[in-house]
Symmetry: C2
Subunit: 169 residues, 2 copies
């Protein structure tokens, strides 16, 4: 009963883009590096986010991602469910057909309530509330030095606390 990595990465990606500001283009490589997301994996995640209309993907040289919506208008629930599908906490809620008596079932009702509550909690959180300095990813500080063909150096995330040091080859 755990969020997937893809969803966590999507949240990190959107936090990063929200900090950049709506409408501003950021390269996939930069996001991958700064938010510590495997670059190729991020490409796939971005496709889901684009399909849902949260970001626009710009191809070609100097391409990247652009946040389409106001961070205040994007809820955490929205992003989570784009990535993992609608939240259900148990099977008989997800597929009522699998449970003949579901409507009357006491257990069923508990899970319905729990689910509704969880979704409400996540729905109340929007991305403008998630931009505080000490968030999951380091605050971007114009590290626009060109690292060319460098893929996200996974490197055990040693740069997560020090996002501002120059990458001296």
């Amino acid at each position: 009963m755990r969020l997937t990595r893809a969803a966590e990465y999507a949240i990190r990606c959107l936090i990063y883009l929200s900090r950049q500001g709506q409408g501003r283009l950021t390269s996939r490589q930069e996001i991958a590096r700064q938010a510590n997301i495997p670059a190729h994996f991020l490409a796939k995640i971005a496709q889901d986010l684009a399909k849902a209309g949260l970001i626009e993907i710009r191809q070609g040289a100097r391409g990247g991602f652009i946040l389409c919506k106001d961070p205040a208008a994007i809820s955490l629930l929205e992003v989570v469910e784009i990535m993992i599908g609608e939240i259900f906490l148990n099977d008989c809620v997800a597929r009522p057909a699998s449970c003949k008596v579901s409507y009357h079932c006491a257990v069923h009702r508990v899970w319905i309530d729990a689910r509704d509550q969880l979704r409400a909690t996540l729905r109340q959180v929007s991305f403008d509330q998630l931009l505080s300095d000490a968030s999951c990813i380091p605050v971007h500080q114009e590290t626009l030095l060109d690292t060319d063909d460098l893929e996200a150096t996974d490197a055990s995330g040693t740069d997560r606390n020090e996002p501002f040091h120059e990458r001296t080859e």
Copy 2:
């Protein structure tokens, strides 16, 4: 983000045993058949429940499971966490070490809150509240006629829905 089948089966098993009443022995086969649980799988699940002290397992001829606690004293949360481990909704809550700034992280706080809320909801539900007629498993159907050679049928239908059955040691 879904409950496992093992946990759903455990809940069904305990509902069945709760209906039988605390202290009353019921064979694994009967529970498996009535609550629609693969019998061998139930054996494995029962071991977890026994280890946690919820049931006692009686081996040998005329063996089976015995509910050790008052259904009112068993919470849904307890059973769920016996089966799937402590509930965490995301990784950085489960393993704070994986997230260097977790204490200050806004996203982290949301998941902490959501988790606490979910656990509180499940904690409030006890098994005596889950015995209503139209629950996930049928109420005491005496359809034990199909399997002839079975004699663990426990003589007559004295298993009414008395929550507090006298302990017949």
